[in-house]
Subunit: 79 residues, 2 copies
Amino acid sequence: MKFSVKVTLKKDVLDPQGKVVAQTLQNMGMNTLKNIRQGKYFEIEISENNEAKAKEKIDEMCKKLLVNLIIEDFEISKI
Amino acid sequence: MKFSVKVTLKKDVLDPQGKVVAQTLQNMGMNTLKNIRQGKYFEIEISENNEAKAKEKIDEMCKKLLVNLIIEDFEISKI
């Protein structure tokens, strides 16, 4: 079973990397750009046939290693 | 208008960062894990009301700055 995990910075956390990307794009003439935030993305394959159990495992991986819950949010979806 | 962009390494490109994450998770006892690949994720807000035009702009940003087309694929979706 394959899942995707999107990890994004929480709304009130500053995103300096995103800011730099935004400035660079604006300097390149993309003046319609309003905002850009950068996050991480994982594609995880797991050998577990029960979807609920698989999701639980992924959730555990996120909480234990992949995501810093203090500053980041995450979203798991099946692909 | 807000879009998300997922950037992933092409299938045949090695992903050392993903490998390390996979090994770490396996060492932590997650033995059902089969594979994990890491990518990037962007949330882009753009002041353009025509969806097709907005997507085109995002596509341009990806090709010019955000994505290395030699080793990476990307996928734009509206959010």
